[in-house]
Structures are given as C-alpha cells and as structure tokens.
C-alpha cells in the first residue's frame, strides 16, 4: 500500500514536468521501475490512475519498463543479479528492502566474497523517463 506514496510522487512530478514543458495534456507517461523494491504493479498502476483523475495526466497512456537489478561488489568487482540473492530472503527482509532499498546491505552479501559493500548499479527506485 505504500505504492500509493510512490504513485503520488510520480503524478505530482509528471504534472510539474508537463507544466515546465508547457503541455496542456500528458499523452504518454514513461516510467522506469527497478525490480529491487518489488513494487506491486497492479496497486501502483491503479494508484496512478486514481490520483490522475481531474488532472492533465488523466487518460494518458502509461508505459512501464521494469528494470532488472544489477549489483556490483565494491570489494571484488563481482556483478550479479538481484534475483539471484532475492530468493534467500525472508518476507520481513523483503519488506524492509521494499520500503528502503538500501537496507539491502543488511540482508544481502556479495555471493563471491561475502562483502556487504556493494552497489545497486541498476534497478533501484522509480524514475520518470519521459512525458509527452
């Protein structure tokens, strides 16, 4: 349900951006959604639609690109996919990362060298890629 908070941020941002671009109506909203937060896309999409009602974002097409997450170890250089480590997490751990992705450093280690000092190189957060 905190997907609503993220949706609200997206809707507000999109409208702000449209105003800067002098758009009177948003035809397309293009979002990049990283897999780290495991966002519930159904809730998220529904929330965006609901919050768009009565705004210049209403009725616009929304395109989502789900971005696989790439983790890079600062210690040994190893690169691995989020999903590789995701399986081993408990529900509680998944939920913590769902809210604050950086808590990943509490619950995951580099599979090669066991370091917690790695970077979420790709696949973190929600970004607006484009509006039209």
């Amino acid at each position: 349900m905190h997907e609503w908070a993220l949706a609200e941020a997206v809707v507000k941002s999109a409208i702000d951006m449209a105003q800067k671009k002098n758009l009177s109506q948003i035809k397309l909203l293009f979002l990049r959604v990283g897999e780290v937060q495991q966002i519930d896309m159904e809730v998220f999409n529904y929330a965006i639609k609901e919050l768009s009602k009565g705004t210049i974002l209403e009725n616009s097409e929304i395109k989502y690109e789900i971005f696989p997450a790439k983790l890079v170890c600062n210690n040994c250089g190893n690169i691995w996919s989020y999903m590789e480590s995701f399986q081993g997490l408990t529900d509680e751990e998944k939920e913590a990362i769902h809210f604050i992705p950086e808590t990943i450093h509490v619950y995951m280690k580099c599979p090669k060298c066991k370091s917690a000092d790695f970077e979420i190189k790709e696949g973190r957060g929600v970004f607006i890629e484009d509006i039209k």
Binding site: H2, L6, E8, S13, M17, A96, F99, H105, A116, D117
Partner: protein, 211 residues
C-alpha cells in the same frame, strides 16, 4: 531527462509541519540524540504536536532512549510514523532488525530521500531531526532538500568538541542557514568559555545541561 519523482513530493510531505529543527553538532557523542528525544518529550508535554526523525543511519539511538523498539510503522498510503508517548517517530531501525547497516554516501542520499518521500507526517508543530556527526551527505542533503530548516547546535564544554562544532557553525553561517542557537551539554564545572565562543561566533547561547 530522467527525473526522480521523490524530489517533487518532499515539500508536500512536510507541508503540514510548522517548524523543522535539525539537532546538529558535527561532533559525535555530545548528546544530540539524548537531547532530540528529551526535547521532543518536553515539547509534547507542553501541548505541541511533535515528530521525531532519527537520521543517524549508521547509529540510530532515539529508539533506545524512547524505548520504541517493539513498534513498527503502519502502511497507509505510505508509512505512518510510530506513536511513542504521543510523539510521531520514524527511524531506520524499523527496517534493519537492529543489525549493522553499512553504506556509502550516495546511498545515504537515497535512503534519506526515500524516508522523506514515503513518510506521512500529520500536522506537526515541530519536526525534530536528530542528525549524525560529520559534514557529509546527511547535512548536505537536508540543506538541499528541506525548506525552512532551522538548526539547533549541541556541544560539550571541551576544546576537542568545539574544534569540530565550530566548523559546522561556520559552514552554516557562511551559507546563511538559520541557527536557533547552541546548547552546552554535559557541563561539569563552572566556566564561561562556551558562552564566550557563542558571542565570538555571534550565535545565541541557549543554556546548559549538567552532566
């Protein structure tokens, strides 16, 4: 033209907060967290609506001082802070199971942004922000992202602490950030040198707390 939507929502999340006060020092162990918790309790007793946000990501402390370890923020169109003795409280501790959380600076920025983007503060008279030591991301990002931020500085009455506290004060003064004043904590013996330092730096000496 990739845009991070969190940047657009922070003002909205804080729009019902009348005063935002960051408890800072630059120096560690001078009582920032103790003071943040006690100030929150005190103002709450006085009838003000208080929020307390622990932004010491590596070493959160307020949950210990307030005994707020067994609660959890509720999910409700975002996250509702935990209610502790009438104070609305948020801390990274609710996501770490009290285990070590290391991270680099860029990720500190992301953590802070995420917390501000998803935490739903209700109407507050004061949001007290407990800061970590240092002059890195947490300080720089608070300044960057939070409007109408006011600073309250804490020190202890030692030359070693003041050496660092003075740096924070000078940095804030150069940037024209609002400093409410300085609190001298852990005072043991009589002496005026912290008060005199305040005069020299032209900031308000707010009083002392005994050791």
């Amino acid at each position: 033209m990739t845009h991070d939507p969190r940047l657009s929502i922070i003002d909205k999340r804080l729009e019902s907060v009348k005063n935002i006060i960051a408890i800072g020092s630059g120096k560690g162990g001078v009582g920032k967290s103790t003071f943040s918790s006690l100030l929150s309790l005190f103002l709450n007793k006085k009838g003000y609506k208080i929020g307390l946000l622990d932004l010491d990501i590596y070493g959160p402390s307020n949950h210990v001082i307030l005994n707020a370890e067994d609660k959890y923020p509720e999910e409700e169109y975002g996250l509702k802070p935990v209610n502790v003795n009438g104070i609305d409280f948020m801390s990274i501790i609710y996501f770490t199971q009290n285990k070590p959380l290391i991270m680099r600076g860029k990720e500190l920025t992301d953590t802070i942004l995420e917390i501000f983007a998803i935490t739903r503060w209700r109407d507050l008279d004061y949001l007290i922000i407990d800061m970590p030591p240092g002059m890195g991301e947490v300080l720089l990002d608070l300044i960057r992202f939070i409007k109408n931020l006011q600073f309250l500085i804490i020190t202890n009455p030692t030359k070693i602490a003041l050496e660092t506290v003075e740096k924070l004060i000078n940095f804030l003064k150069e940037g024209n950030y609002l400093i409410l004043g300085l609190v001298e904590n852990m005072k043991i013996k009589d002496g005026n040198f912290v008060k005199e330092k305040c005069q020299e730096l032209n900031i308000k000496y707010l009083g002392h707390i005994s050791f």
